[in-house]
């Protein structure tokens, strides 16, 4: 029966308006939620367990404020919840090394994660952790099938490929045909009582550091037209002014 880890991350609500304070994003008053792709990863991990048995452990990194994302995972069905106790910026190198060490310590055959976190959008953690562990990885899975082997449906040149995934492996999940379950009352009650397994982590030095944030440059006001007939003018401008056709 496989031990299954799902990596979850708390990020600003994707509907939040973002402001800059100084040289960082102003997080005050921004609601924090589980990164949307991690919800698919959690759903995939739970289905894997339902098909093969085993345990699902949700792991996040952060301060005490990140416990909420673990409680949310618990409410939906994670068996264990673990927080790697570190707050603050880490580059991909330091972050992945810390996560790989934790996965080794916890022990697992499969690690699920979102294809990218909604804040950084980078998508480096899944494949990077896999490389450090010497594991296989598949990314951007839009479907999973759990039979004698695990099959992932992943985008490939010219369509989607059904890929046989070996053990052990890291699987990063895109939004696909998995419908994410909602917590039930019992799950929510259990999550309230559940203890977070807080573990200290050794973090290495980061050679990439953040030096500033800004809002994207505002776009100059465009041209606006009333009525469908104006579409002919726009068509001509696309060729003559914008030069895109």
């Amino acid at each position: 029966m496989p031990e299954i880890i799902v990596l979850v991350k708390q990020v600003p609500d994707t509907n939040a308006r973002i402001a800059i304070a100084g040289d960082a994003v102003d997080m005050s008053g921004v609601k924090m939620v589980m990164s949307p792709y991690d919800e698919f990863a959690l759903e995939a991990a739970l289905r894997h367990k339902e098909a093969s048995g085993g345990n699902v452990t949700a792991v996040t990194m952060g301060g005490a404020g990140a416990d909420k994302v673990l409680k949310d995972a618990k409410a939906i069905g994670a068996d264990h919840i673990v927080r790697l106790d570190h707050e603050g910026w880490l580059d991909s190198n330091a972050l992945q090394a810390a996560i790989a060490a934790a996965v080794t310590e916890l022990g697992a055959e499969f690690v699920y994660c979102g294809k990218s976190a909604a804040d950084t959008g980078a998508g480096s953690t899944g494949p990077g952790v896999a490389e450090r562990m010497g594991w296989a990885s598949v990314s951007n899975a839009v479907g999973l099938e759990f039979g004698a082997d695990v099959h992932a449906i992943c985008p490939a040149e010219g369509g989607n490929a059904r890929v046989q995934v070996p053990t052990p492996a890291v699987i990063s999940c895109d939004k696909g045909d998995l419908k994410v379950r909602k917590p039930n009352v019992r799950g929510i009650m259990q999550a309230k009582k559940a203890a977070v397994d807080v573990r200290s982590v050794a973090v290495g030095a980061s050679t990439v550091r953040v030096i500033g944030c800004s809002l994207p440059p505002a776009k100059p006001a465009g041209k606006s037209y009333e009525g469908g007939a104006a579409a002919a003018d726009v068509a001509r401008l696309l060729r003559e002014e914008a030069n895109v056709l």
Binding site: T14, K175, R209
Partner: protein
């Protein structure tokens, strides 16, 4: 600046034009890059001899016939010289770049849109903000398409062929054809997208007619994908769909939710057609047409059709 090494973007075994943009980025960093071309047939690497390139290495291996992250990273690592590695920020190359960086114990910085010395800027929060980082030493970076101009082709050096191997871990059991033969939004230079304002999924046929006229892919908003089963998620542009960066994005019947804007706001030119003059999409449009799609779309299609023929 240490040496820079470009991993060429390939599609169908051919060097993709976006590779020339990576050369411009590397030259802008004050280096003459080495271009490594992952290929099964070394002849493919001839197309990577762009102006400004110091050398081209054809990394020839059977593993490059189909993507396996571990094997690609292993084979590329064996062939690519040390130094700052640059790849395209495509889904596949971001994945490979993350593995290659981890393999070499380097940090990876994804989705770079601006380079100034050792400072790299990338969009975060799906483009709602830009983040600049300072990199100490070497790193692996991926660069968004359509940001840097393409380097001229030709004038580059000869190609060195190096055989590479990697341990393939995953196995493709079957290829599943796309639901449609249409161009994918992630690969298109022009995208025509429809939202719930299209009224009914059958009306997307009008978007397809326009798309066929100008060689565009057809996309959709999350609202459309969530409302209509006939509109597959593979078409979704936005924060939980695909992030796109085309030269031209035509949004029809799309109000412009933050979700959607996050996936397409960096498009070079945006045309919006919506009957609601207050729709947020108009704030981001270069050309906004306040009209129903029934009125505007046939005019747009027929005018463009006349121009393109």
């Amino acid at each position: 600046m240490s040496e820079t090494v470009i991993i060429a973007e390939t599609a169908g075994g051919v060097v993709a034009p976006s590779t020339a943009e990576l050369v411009t980025a590397a030259v802008g960093m004050g280096t003459n890059p080495t271009v490594v071309v992952p290929c099964t047939d070394a002849g493919a690497a001839n197309a990577a001899a762009f102006a400004g390139v110091a050398r081209v290495i054809a990394a020839k291996s059977d593993v490059f016939a189909a993507y396996d992250a571990a094997a690609w990273a292993q084979a590329i690592d064996a062939v690519a010289p040390q130094g700052t590695v640059i790849a395209l920020a495509s889904a596949r190359s971001k994945d490979m770049a993350a593995r290659l960086a981890a393999r070499r114990g380097l940090p990876v910085v994804q989705d770079v849109v601006a380079i100034s010395g050792t400072q790299l800027t990338s969009p975060i929060l799906s483009g709602k903000a830009m983040q600049t980082v300072e990199v100490e030493g070497t790193s692996v970076i991926t660069i968004r398409a359509n940001v840097f101009t393409a380097a001229e082709s030709g004038g580059g050096p000869d190609v060195t062929v190096v055989d590479a191997t990697g341990d393939v871990r995953t196995a493709v059991v079957e290829m599943m054809a796309r639901a449609s033969e249409r161009l994918d939004v992630a690969e298109a230079n022009i995208i025509v997208s429809g939202g719930r304002g299209m009224g009914d999924p059958s009306n997307f046929s009008h978007l397809e007619t326009l798309a066929d006229t100008i060689g565009a892919a057809v996309g959709a908003s999350r609202a459309a994908v969530d409302t209509w089963d006939d509109i597959p998620h593979s078409m979704q542009v936005g924060q939980t769909g695909k992030t796109v960066n085309p030269n031209l994005y035509i949004a029809v019947g799309i109000s412009g939710a933050i979700q959607h804007l996050a996936g397409m706001r960096s498009s070079k030119y945006i045309v919006a057609i919506n009957k609601d003059a207050d729709a947020p999409i108009f704030k981001h449009a270069d050309y906004g047409i306040v009209a129903s799609w029934e009125e505007a779309l046939p005019v747009l299609t027929s005018t463009l059709s006349g121009m393109m023929s």
